[in-house]
């Protein structure tokens, strides 16, 4: 879920922009380091960014019948690690704003923070945690992908509630309102994205783990991340 262009007041837009700039810079630095060791990685990341954009443009049949779009943050964080996702989602969000009129330039900072920083961190954290506990791998992937989505949605609602506190009830009431109103689309989305990610992951594993491992991805073992 993206905050619309111009929806946040100037101060909030600038503050979230600054926070995201730091994260994107850290991500770019780690990518640059990884690219130096393995030059092919740059192309791989660029192509994967395009994949994320196309994935987010696909319509997903959702549990309640409404249509939603997968975000791909969970899958990306599992494949590339959470740090690389900040620059990747910056590019995806910018392209969505300009090519699809979805989201915006002034709210880019806030959106990158929720989708490119909090979401991937939550997804990756859950992935590592559930893996360490020893849950079955399908459940691990499902939890990582859907909780990454939920974390993104809660962050967005928080950002909106900070910007627009309720006149009578303040921040908490406003947060409850935003969470409630966006739950209609976001909770079904999180469930369907979780299911879709499990299906994608098992599809890749079933048909082409060989090809993936020659490309440097070992889905079953320990992966090399940025």
């Amino acid at each position: 879920m993206h905050i619309m262009e111009g929806f946040l007041p100037a101060g909030h837009a600038a503050a979230w922009g600054a926070a995201s700039t730091v994260c994107v810079a850290a991500g770019l630095r780690s990518i640059a380091k990884a690219v130096k060791a393995n030059p092919e990685l740059k192309m791989l990341l660029g192509v994967s960014t395009a994949f994320t954009f196309v994935l987010s443009a696909l319509k997903l049949p959702s549990v309640t019948g409404s249509c939603s779009h997968p975000t791909g943050t969970g899958l990306g964080a599992i494949l590339f690690g959470p740090l690389a996702m900040a620059p990747v989602s910056l590019i995806v969000l910018l392209f969505q704003a300009i090519l699809l009129a979805h989201g915006g330039v002034t709210t880019l900072g806030a959106n990158v923070f929720s989708m490119g920083v909090v979401g991937p961190l939550a997804g990756y954290g859950i992935y590592r945690l559930t893996k360490a506990v020893g849950l079955p791998s399908n459940l691990t992937i499902f939890l990582a992908a859907s909780l990454a989505d939920l974390a993104t949605y809660v962050t967005t609602a928080t950002q909106l509630a900070i910007a627009f506190p309720d006149p009578t009830g303040g921040f908490a009431v406003s947060l409850a309102k935003f969470l409630g109103i966006f739950a209609v689309t976001q909770i079904p989305l999180a469930i369907s994205e979780g299911l879709l990610t499990v299906l994608i992951y098992s599809f890749i594993q079933k048909y082409s783990s060989q090809e993936l491992s020659t490309l440097g991805f070992a889905l079953t073992g320990e992966e090399e991340r940025i």
């Binding site: 262009e5 770019l28 196309v54 090519l99 627009f164 299906l199 890749i204």
Partner: protein
């Protein structure tokens, strides 16, 4: 499949040959003015001015323009609903649930907040849509590069932009093949088909990345992708017009208080 209409218009509108810096300057100052204003007046002026410039000036067909603007507008109303609604009664009670001791209503303060956010967002959206519909992505990226965006980011953007269209075409082909085999006949099938499509595209993503890299290496790829960007000349009148309009808007946004 979404067919990125905005991109098509960006290459085929009347204002394509205007220097991207001039358009960028105007849009940036409009965005700033819209965000800074505390009344609905300035954002509304921006929204009207930008949409009429896009339709009358750049020659984007009115119907298509409205269709493109409809989706963000829908999202916007959904978001503004949250601002206007109050669960503590408010000034305009709509429904009362005694069992939950809950009153749903519209609060006047919340309505004011929603009004401002709505117009501000409309003004900003139409400004961005103006830039998106008149300036191709490649020129926006060239503009960003000259403004000092890190090279690595620009390069990733360039690769992404090229690949998006390739993937959209592949996705469209896979989709029609799946549809012909009743791949989307039920929600369950649709999920399966989508996963197979995404998995296939992801794989071709990875192989394609390797092929692209090898192809570029064979052509002397060092560290940077270099392109010739079309030479655009600055127009003094446009430049003065854009900066004057931007200045007036920002100053009046700061000056007009509710």
């Amino acid at each position: 499949m979404p067919n990125l209409k905005i991109d098509t218009f960006a290459y085929s509108n009347r204002w394509r040959h205007v220097h991207p810096g001039e358009k960028g300057l105007l849009v940036l100052s409009c965005l700033t003015a819209a965000l800074l204003s505390r009344t609905v007046l300035i954002p509304l002026v921006i929204a009207v001015a930008m949409s009429s410039m896009t339709v009358l000036g750049a020659g984007i067909p009115c119907r298509e323009y409205l269709r493109l603007a409809a989706l963000p507008a829908l999202f916007l109303f959904w978001s503004c609903l949250a601002l206007a609604v109050s669960f503590t009664g408010g000034d305009l009670p709509l429904a009362h649930f005694p069992a939950l001791s809950l009153t749903i209503g519209l609060s006047r303060q919340g309505m004011g907040q929603a009004q401002l956010a709505l117009t501000r967002s409309l003004g900003a959206t139409f400004s961005l849509l103006f830039l998106a519909l008149t300036t191709p992505m490649t020129e926006i990226m060239a503009l960003l590069r000259s403004l000092g965006t890190p090279r690595l980011l620009i390069e990733l953007m360039t690769i992404t932009y090229r690949q998006i269209f390739i993937f959209l075409e592949i996705a469209g082909q896979i989709r029609s093949a799946q549809e012909a085999r009743l791949g989307y006949s039920s929600a369950r099938n649709a999920m399966k088909s989508l996963a197979a499509m995404a998995g296939n595209i992801l794989l071709s993503t990875l192989t394609r990345a390797r092929h692209n890299h090898q192809g570029l290496l064979a052509r002397g790829y060092g560290d940077e992708l270099l392109f010739l960007s079309p030479r655009r000349s600055w127009n003094v009148f446009n430049l003065i017009g854009a900066s004057a309009a931007g200045l007036v808007l920002i100053v009046s946004a700061l000056a007009i208080r509710p």
